[in-house]
């Protein structure tokens, strides 16, 4: 396979795709870089001028930046914890032989296929609505005051919605990992006198370390950029309570019409994502080796 000829052939056949991908990636990045150095307001067309790093200074010193950074981390962290803590028992349950297991699996996985916008709307209008929502009705059945989710605990409401969307993903990855656990290992543990709990702690959980790492890494990438759920439900509010970095950039660009500052924010988000990725790979990535 690895003759010089096949290598050359492989490279020349790959080149168009790689080239296209590269252009696809580099053009927006270069434009963002360029815009981030301009004074560029959509309210004041024709006034574009080079301002150096002024946009970055403006974005980073904005009090909204720190608040939204904190919100981003809270959102990512909470959803990760929720999906893994609920995903493991769910995966264990779905691994049991029960009647109609395939249907149950399909149902559990369904939320993952619902568009974020749609699921946010369903949660907002059908479940969490303080007057006509299901939760409000339930509260009233028990004689409690319905919770106005998006005003009283907006961040928690967002976390619930996003966790609901990502739980199937975590469950699915963990379930496939459980199914790859060698049956003879469990039997060996049984012969060794391990109880169900001990088998879980000493055999199953270590086996799940790698898929949990995968879940954490992949979910983090997507959770850093959660947008639709916030846009549809709270619009970043009340105040800045549910504004994350992605939403802050959006509001810079299309609420305040400041493209320059939004571009700078976009680049800051890229840097933050890379910092998070760096630490994640450091902390959990060693599970992926060998």
């Amino acid at each position: 396979m690895a003759t010089r000829q096949t290598q050359y052939l492989a490279r020349s056949l790959l080149a168009p795709a790689v080239g296209l991908l590269f252009i696809w990636m580099i053009v927006p990045l270069a434009l963002t870089l360029y815009f981030s150095t301009l004074h560029y307001s959509l309210l004041d067309p024709g006034s574009e001028a080079f301002v150096g790093l002024e946009n970055f200074r403006y974005f980073l010193t904005d009090p909204a930046f720190l608040a939204s950074l904190q919100n981003t981390l809270v959102l990512v962290g909470s959803v990760l914890v929720l999906t893994i803590l609920l995903g493991i028992p769910l995966a264990l349950l779905l691994d049991q032989p029960v009647v109609g297991r395939n249907i149950v699996r399909l149902m559990v996985i369904a939320p993952f296929f619902v568009m974020p916008t749609v699921s946010a709307l369903v949660w907002k209008n059908l479940l969490m609505h303080p007057v006509s929502g299901l939760f409000a009705w339930l509260a009233k059945v028990f004689g409690l005051t319905p919770i106005d989710w998006f005003n009283d605990m907006p961040m928690f409401a967002i976390i619930l919605i996003v966790a609901w969307q990502w739980l199937p993903f975590a469950t699915l990855i963990l379930l496939t990992a459980l199914q790859s656990l060698d049956e003879e290992q469990k039997e060996a543990a049984e012969m060794d006198g391990a109880s169900g709990v001990s088998t879980f702690i000493y055999i199953t959980l270590p086996h799940l370390a790698r898929p949990i790492t995968v879940v954490v890494l992949i979910e983090t990438i997507f959770l850093l950029t959660v947008f639709a759920e916030i846009f549809v439900t709270t619009g970043g509010g009340p105040g800045l309570q549910t504004t994350n970095i992605a939403f802050l950039i959006y509001s810079q660009a299309l609420i305040q019409f400041d493209v320059g500052s939004a571009s700078a924010g976009g680049l800051v988000a890229v840097v933050i994502a890379n910092i998070v990725a760096f630490f994640l790979v450091r902390i959990v990535g060693r599970n992926l080796e060998a």
Partner: protein, 335 residues
Amino acid sequence: MGQITLQGVQKAFGPVHIIKGADLDIADGSFVVFVGPSGCGKTTLLRLIAGLEDVTDGRILIDGKNVVAVPPAKRGLSMVFQSYALYPHMSVRGNIGFGLKMAGLAKDEINRKVEAAAATLNLTPYLERKPRELSGGQRQRVAIGRAIVREPKAFLFDEPLSNLDAALRVQMRIEVTRLQKQLGTTAIYVTHDQVEAMTMADKIVVLNGGKIEQYGSPLDLYEKPANLFVAGFIGSPKMNFVTGESALQRGAFTIGVRPEHLKIERDGAGGWPGTIAVAEHLGSDTFLYVDAGQLGMLTARYIGELSLHAGDRVSLVPEPARIHRFNESGNAIRG
């Protein structure tokens, strides 16, 4: 003590009867091999004894106590799995000591026992390694270490050597046999390899289609096979079977002669004449596959080198005392 008795043990998975009633008496300290073709139920029988499967009917007695309702860990048996089933995230020390840890032994006692077991198996330098850093033979020894450290009443081996290459298999075969003799613990060993069965066993159980065909010492099985199946299964190359006139002359429906009990005469007079189809020269042995016309293909074995080649005419003369006779239903005729 480790005396194991099976009484009318049956196992069915739904409508499929895997074990159709097994009765067996395994003496304390003996090495018993279950052998048979794949699908004969030998692994299932072992798993029934281990407690990894529930019996459908019958009793399993360990030291006279019926254990069919006792969970695996409480039966006092330990098992070596075909895939070794080592715990991949634990060191060798952790793997060997896991059963003791689950039994709630003190740490220093676990360490002492693990180190003693490791010393027996030459694993001491590898105690802190993970299974993936070990070779196949070392992993095999860890699996055995995990079994011996618990000082069980009996070892159960489920085709433990089938993942090793041929040379290592021979070496491990000897090591396992020696270890078992040294510990004096009862062992039940499942294999499909009749050479392993013949070399390791004190007694062999030949299984076929969920039934015990014969239970006896290796040489018993070789010299007095109870039926056609055992006769064909034990011994390599396979026994030659001849039906028709030659058999009827000797008062049997089928007669069987092992390849090593056929005398090879160069000129095709007397005995069974035929043409050599293939001649295999191994130096130590010569195997001849002879086309004997109506009798079909016959295999003959000659100890040492015999310069005969494909196409040569030979005559095969069975040793009269070594002819096995079988009736219509395939059972041996004695006397």
